[in-house]
């Protein structure tokens, strides 16, 4: 078996003294579509923030390959972070920059590419997410669904190894969310990117997700990990009823 791309060991997450989740241990493998599940407020976004190096674990570790993130030097941490693409819940595009500049910023910061090359990359990435020709729009001038797609283009700018999504379809109409959904899958298929996402609303993602972790708000720890399709059949009651939307088991 290949070594996991992310491994979480005995992770406890807390805001000052308030423990959100404790004793989380799971692995994400290369090429996985990994879903973080759980009720509202149970700590999914918080877990995601721990996985992308924004929040330091209270105890336990988050490692990428062999590298324990919080044991690494700041420079090494920055190196690791550049392997991630993150799509935040509301897109988090930089509002003072145009879409083109948003995609360009990581490229300008971390590559020595020429202006022409950067311009070509911007055009490609925006076209991939269906926003060709929107280079000079500001985030405030486009719709919510378009913002998320633009943010996806930015997240892909550096060809990340792992893409992280926080509730990508939240706040989108069914059609836009379906499009985003398809887009994510196509990206995985064509680029082989590992995908970690928080969601409970993307049926077709569920269909292809091959790994997951389920966080429970009452016991404040994970109650299951594994393929959601298996969990839907044989998981603990809480998980099965969650996956069947509360239909009687």
């Amino acid at each position: 078996m290949t070594s996991p791309i992310i491994s979480v060991r005995n992770l406890t997450m807390a805001y000052s003294d308030n423990v959100i989740q404790h004793d989380l241990s799971f692995d994400v493998q290369q090429g996985d579509i990994f879903v973080i599940m759980g009720g509202s407020g149970c700590g999914k976004s918080t877990l995601l923030r721990h996985l992308i190096g924004l929040q330091r674990p209270a105890t336990g570790s988050v490692s990428y390959g062999q590298d324990d993130f919080w044991a690494a030097s700041p420079d090494a941490q920055d190196q690791l972070k550049r392997r991630f693409g993150v799509l935040f819940q509301a897109g988090a595009l930089w509002s003072s920059l145009t879409l083109a500049e948003n995609v360009a910023l990581p490229l300008e910061e971390f590559t020595a590419l020429s202006r022409e090359a950067i311009r070509a990359i911007i055009a490609t990435k925006l076209a991939l997410v269906g926003l060709a020709g929107f280079e000079n729009y500001y985030p405030a001038e486009i719709s919510g669904g378009m913002k998320k797609r633009a943010a996806l283009a930015r997240a892909m700018a550096l060809n990340p190894d792992i893409l992280f999504f926080d509730e990508p379809s939240a706040g989108l109409d069914p059609l836009s969310s379906r499009r985003l959904d398809d887009l994510i899958l196509q990206l995985r298929d064509s680029l082989g990117t590992t995908i970690v996402l928080v969601t409970h609303e993307l049926p077709s993602i569920f269909a292809v997700a091959n790994n997951s972790v389920f966080l429970d708000a009452d016991t404040k720890t994970m109650i299951a990990t594994g393929d959601p399709k298996t969990l839907a059949q044989h998981g603990p009651d809480g998980v099965r009823s969650f996956l069947s939307r509360g239909e009687p088991l």
Binding site: L54, D78, Q79, V86, F88, A92, S95, F110
Partner: protein, 374 residues
């Protein structure tokens, strides 16, 4: 059909361990609500049965009253029978009682005066280490900048310079002119008693150039720029834009704070100088038109009074105030919570912090320069 009695009415009927509550009449929010039974009345009960007339609750007042009653009953561990209620209120009551109320309340949003005062004091005290930590980060960022490792967009810097330099000129002109006028008047009234009006020139020149120009510029920037910085960065916090920078390994300090600090530190000495000149012109107008000082004499006296020391000290003070304003604005912005209200609070506290720091440093600097006899 008899019309229901006009006002809300409740009958309590106790039968052994059962309390029957019958509500009649038309309930509305404008008439006083009947009182709940007092604490002693609940002892020994096990069950409450509710009933009410059909159509007596046009605007939800009865439902609210029943809900209050049920909460108290639940607090005494009584079982509640709603079968006697009309079907509408019965279903609504079932919905409202389905989930028990949250018990660990957040802090009282309307604390009393002394509680607020205490909280603010604790807040200021606990701010201190945070301010020091932020200062440390900014100093590290400055180190990176000097080694050419901190990168930010040059266009952003130019934009910030324009927004906080040239665009501050109108308000800086107005305030400095008025302050120069006031200074000249105040001084002249006293000096004229000795026939020494000519010294208005010294008073205004040294006062404006060395102290007040810098102070006024600092205060203007606190309101104008400090607030804007806090709002800009605070909004970016709310939208997770700052997190988006961090996840790319781009330091928000380098990218957001340094250009803002640099823009102010570059612009403030010039603004201070400008404020001094405008103040001197205002003083000159007053002295020559109102107090009969000759224009040539005034200019001559101004030149005699001013030394490079005064000019440089003024510019130095201005720079310090500008840096403090940029620091406060950026710091409060970076500290901002994740809501629109938090942005408002960040803005306010940026201005308050700026003015506080300016005042303290003005006193310290004045004393230091006095001691140095500069």
């Amino acid at each position: 059909m008899n019309t229901p009695p006009p006002t809300a009415h409740v009958e309590f009927d106790r039968q052994d361990t059962l309390l029957r509550v019958h509500c009649s009449g038309t309930w509305d929010w404008n008439s006083p609500q009947p009182a709940l039974p007092d604490a002693s009345a609940w002892a020994g009960l096990t069950r409450v049965a509710l009933s009410a007339d059909e159509g007596g609750d046009p605007d939800g007042a009865l439902l609210a009253w029943l809900l209050g009653l049920c909460r108290v009953a639940a607090g005494h561990a009584l079982s509640i029978d709603t079968a006697g209620l009309p079907s509408g209120p019965q279903k609504l009551l079932a919905l409202a009682l389905a989930v028990p109320p949250q018990t660990d309340h957040p802090d009282d949003p309307n604390p009393g005066f002394f509680e607020s005062l205490g909280k603010i004091s604790l807040h200021v005290w606990s701010d201190l280490p945070l301010a020091l930590a932020f200062t440390g980060e900014v100093v590290q960022g400055l180190g990176r900048m000097l080694r050419g490792k901190a990168r930010f967009r040059r266009r952003e810097l130019f934009w910030l310079i324009e927004a906080n330099g040239p665009r501050a000129l109108p308000i800086a002109s107005l305030i400095s002119f008025l302050v120069g006028t006031i200074l000249a008047y105040m001084g002249a009234v006293q000096l004229a008693q000795f026939g020494a009006q000519i010294y208005i020139a010294d008073l205004v020149a040294i006062g404006m150039v060395r102290e007040i120009g810098a102070l006024m510029t600092g205060v203007i920037l606190a309101g104008r720029t400090g607030a804007a910085y806090a709002a800009q960065i605070g909004t970016m916090q709310v939208n997770e834009e700052v997190d988006a920078l961090r996840t790319l390994g781009i330091s928000p300090i380098d990218h957001l704070v340094l250009p803002r600090l640099l823009a102010l530190v570059l612009m403030v000495p010039l603004l201070t100088l400008y404020a001094g000149v405008v103040g001197i012109i205002a003083g000159m107008l007053i002295a020559t038109t109102v107090f009969g000082v000759g224009l040539r004499e005034y200019l001559h006296e101004t030149v005699l009074a001013l030394s490079w020391t005064h000019i440089l000290i003024g510019m130095f003070k201005g720079t310090v105030y500008g840096a403090l304003v940029a620091f406060s604005g950026c710091w409060r912005g970076m500290q901002c919570g994740r809501s629109a209200q938090a942005v408002g609070e960040a803005t306010t506290s940026a201005v308050v912090t700026s003015i506080l720091l300016i005042t303290v440093s003005a006193s310290v600097l004045t004393i230091v320069f006095q001691r140095l006899r500069w």
